[in-house]
Amino acid sequence: MQLDAIGKIFAVAKHQTRMGFYSPQAFIPPLILPLCGYAVFAGGLSRLEDLPGFNYAQGYTTFAFAFTLVMAAAFAGSFTGLAAARSFELGFNSRMLLGVGRGDYLAAGFFLAAWARGAVGIAIVTAIAAATGCSLPQSPVEVTLLAVLVFAVIGIGACWGIGVAWRMRSLDASPAIQVPIIVLLFATPAVLPSNLLSPWFGSIAAVNPATPVVVAVRDLLAGGMPAASGLVATGVLLLMAGAWAAFSSRTLK
């Protein structure tokens, strides 16, 4: 029975992954905003590293890339939620449910597809960043931790998107999926470190659970180990988003 369930989940994941790569409309949009953000931040704002108090050793390009990486991962996950919403609107998910039998199996398949699609998107973003002078971690431990963090963020975006898609079951879910993620991401030290933010904005960033995640990625790109708070925040966010997706997926029978 368990092998049967795993087989069904992988079948859904395989289908959604294939759909994601064959359809430019599904593959390109999650990459556009992060890449354009990277171009604008690293290209247009690099002078900010001259600010007194900017002490990120790897330079502004790498500083900007950290945020881009988190944004690309979050969007890769959330756009899978959008794909799920589209599938609901087209009636395809209802037909898939006949095959897999349970809504949570279907959701798990989308979740795995998010990782597969996200992995390719992240690879593209990272390759572009490396080609434009961004420094990447060298030690296997740091690379592994960075990959774990990035995939965790993909998972957070995917769980959030899947949960909303399961509840709304139409493309009207699009703003509900994307706006909270955009708000969470931009209320972090996106363009300057925390010590250089305006006081009121710094207070908001300090309580934003996405801030430790961005800081942890930045620390890893700088060749250091992230603070425990970054790993804990990522874990907590993933658990919460996962619970949201799990409860929402059971509404489909």
Binding site: G43, G44, D50, P175, L197, S198
Partner: protein
């Protein structure tokens, strides 16, 4: 014909007011982005040779252009929807020509842009910004916002008449949004270190429109900057108007 334009403009405004999402998109989102950019880049004036004492004053101009862009997308998608659904054809059966109808849309966006400018400047003043050119500058700023709104909406309407698809206009939005930020929206052009980005900003008409509006806020009257901004706006408006005229004329002839 003036009455026809006013009627079309009123229809556009009524349609917008009845959609809270459209109002939020054009009026609230730019303010949110202004808050985020001011909060995130508040220390940028500490850079040597930064032209403003406060990033809020620096960013108001790009917020006005941004708001005009968002409103233009709403107007452009509305025109595309009318073209797609046949409403535009029904309007042209009336004595009002296509030019009058497009003029009505333009009048509507002028009203929206002036309301946006007044709102954004009021919020900025309440948050501590000041306008160096005083009341006359504020009037010029509002007029400038109307011009920018007309320019942006002409681009969106050009896209609408070419594609006749609401979805295509909405999909063009990210491209134009990127165009806005590949400019001097976040830092002055002479403070952009990366040569390729500065090259793009130098050839981006949005840079000159933003700088013209910004000069009214952060410095004394600078006629050269204002003229260059007007020139960039005029260039974009002429190109878009030509496209709209050619496409609608060919459509009528065909």
């Amino acid at each position: 014909m003036g009455l026809a334009q006013i009627s079309v403009a009123r229809r556009l405004l009524r349609h917008m007011i009845r959609q809270p999402a459209a109002v939020a998109f054009s009026f609230v989102l730019p303010l949110v982005l202004l808050a985020v950019s001011t909060g995130g880049l508040g220390k940028a004036p500490l850079l040597r040779n930064f032209p403003a004492d406060s990033f809020l004053e620096f960013a108001v101009a790009s917020t006005i252009v941004q708001g005009a862009l968002f409103a233009a997308i709403t107007v452009g998608s509305g025109l595309a929807r009318d073209l797609e659904g046949g409403m535009f054809d029904r309007l042209t059966i009336t004595p009002a020509s296509s030019a009058v109808i497009v003029g009505g849309y333009t009048l509507g966006i002028a009203a929206i842009s002036s309301a946006q400018a007044i709102l954004f400047v009021t919020v900025s003043l309440a948050a501590g910004a000041s306008i160096q050119t005083g009341l006359l500058g504020l009037t010029a700023l509002t007029l400038g916002a109307v011009v920018v709104g007309v320019v942006m909406s002409s681009i969106a309407m050009g896209l609408a008449v070419i594609t006749r698809s609401e979805e295509a206009v909405l999909e063009g939005f990210p491209v134009v949004f990127i165009l806005l930020y590949a400019s001097s929206a976040l830092l002055p052009r002479d403070m952009i270190d990366q040569d390729w980005f500065r090259f793009v900003a130098d050839y981006n008409p949005c840079s000159y429109m933003i700088e013209a509006l910004r000069s009214l806020i952060i410095s004394d009257w600078n006629m050269l900057t204002l003229l260059v901004g007007c020139g960039a706006a005029g260039m974009l408006l002429s190109a878009s108007a030509a496209v709209i005229y050619v496409v609608l004329t060919r459509r009528r002839a065909g």
